[in-house]
């Protein structure tokens, strides 16, 4: 890595897992915030590693920012396929899936399942601050 080169990390938010909602063009009804106990230690370790290289002055923080994006899916089967596509998929908290199915049965015409994903962008510069 060149001196003053940059490291960019894109990763899931440390605390926030995907949110599931049922949404139409004019309304949005939250269902549940998902959980992912398997994944959590990995993201915690990644954040700790970033802190370590900064503390050791091997890298200088440039920016840390949180972002989100939303994905609309037409039904619960597509939602399950969406999550299965990940290596370590999240899951519903207790009672969350039942709530989803109840809300989905009572959905308004044109409603979709909306997933909000939360990500963090970390930018660092190689070497200590000038």
């Amino acid at each position: 890595m060149k001196r003053n080169g940059h490291v960019i990390l894109v990763q899931p938010h440390q605390q926030r897992r995907p949110d599931v909602a049922i949404a139409t063009r004019t309304s949005r009804h939250p269902v549940a915030a998902l959980i992912n106990p398997v994944f959590q230690p990995l993201i915690d370790n990644a954040v700790a590693s970033i802190r370590t290289v900064v503390d050791e002055r091997r890298f200088t923080p440039v920016s840390t920012s949180n972002h989100q994006f939303r994905v609309q899916l037409p039904n619960t089967h597509q939602m399950d396929a969406y999550f299965r596509g990940g290596i370590r998929p999240p899951r519903f908290p207790p009672g969350g899936r039942r709530r989803l199915h109840e809300m989905w049965k009572a959905r308004a015409e044109g409603a979709q399942i909306e997933i909000t994903e939360h990500m963090t962008l970390v930018v660092m510069k190689a070497g200590p601050a000038d």
Binding site: M1, K2, G5, H6, V7, I8, L9, V10, Q11, P12, F39, L42, I43, A46, V62, S63, S65, H67, Q68, F69, R70, V71, Q72, L73, P74, Q78, A81, Y82, F83, G85, G86, Q112, E114, I115, E117, M119, L121, V123
Partner: protein, 104 residues
């Protein structure tokens, strides 16, 4: 910021990540190392900006997909390798930017 995906994907919409990167790091003309490139989804978004990219991924099948898809897109400034970040410790190649994208 909504979208409908087909096939479904848990990655941001095309262009979103590159726009965010460019707020902090100008990728134009840079030599970029991408760790955990998967099927090269993001690699192909960055390639038009970069001078060159070395993209590393531990899964040989995904590297094969990445190589094929990138060639199909007519992109020629990317080299894919099977491996991990640890494999590159002794690399003498100086990179301007190292990118770890969703590689936890």
């Amino acid at each position: 910021m909504g979208r409908t995906v087909e096939p479904v994907s848990d990655y941001p919409p095309p262009g979103m990540e590159v726009r965010l990167f460019q707020r902090h790091v100008d990728l134009a003309g840079k030599r970029i190392l991408e760790i955990g490139c998967g099927d090269g989804r993001l690699t192909r978004e960055i390639a038009p900006l970069a001078a060159s990219i070395v993209a590393v991924e531990p899964d040989p099948a995904r590297v094969a997909d990445a190589t094929r898809l990138t060639a199909d897109a007519g992109i020629t400034n990317v080299r894919f390798r099977v491996g991990s970040a640890q494999d590159l410790r002794s690399s003498a190649e100086p990179f301007d930017v190292a990118l770890f994208s969703w590689s936890l």
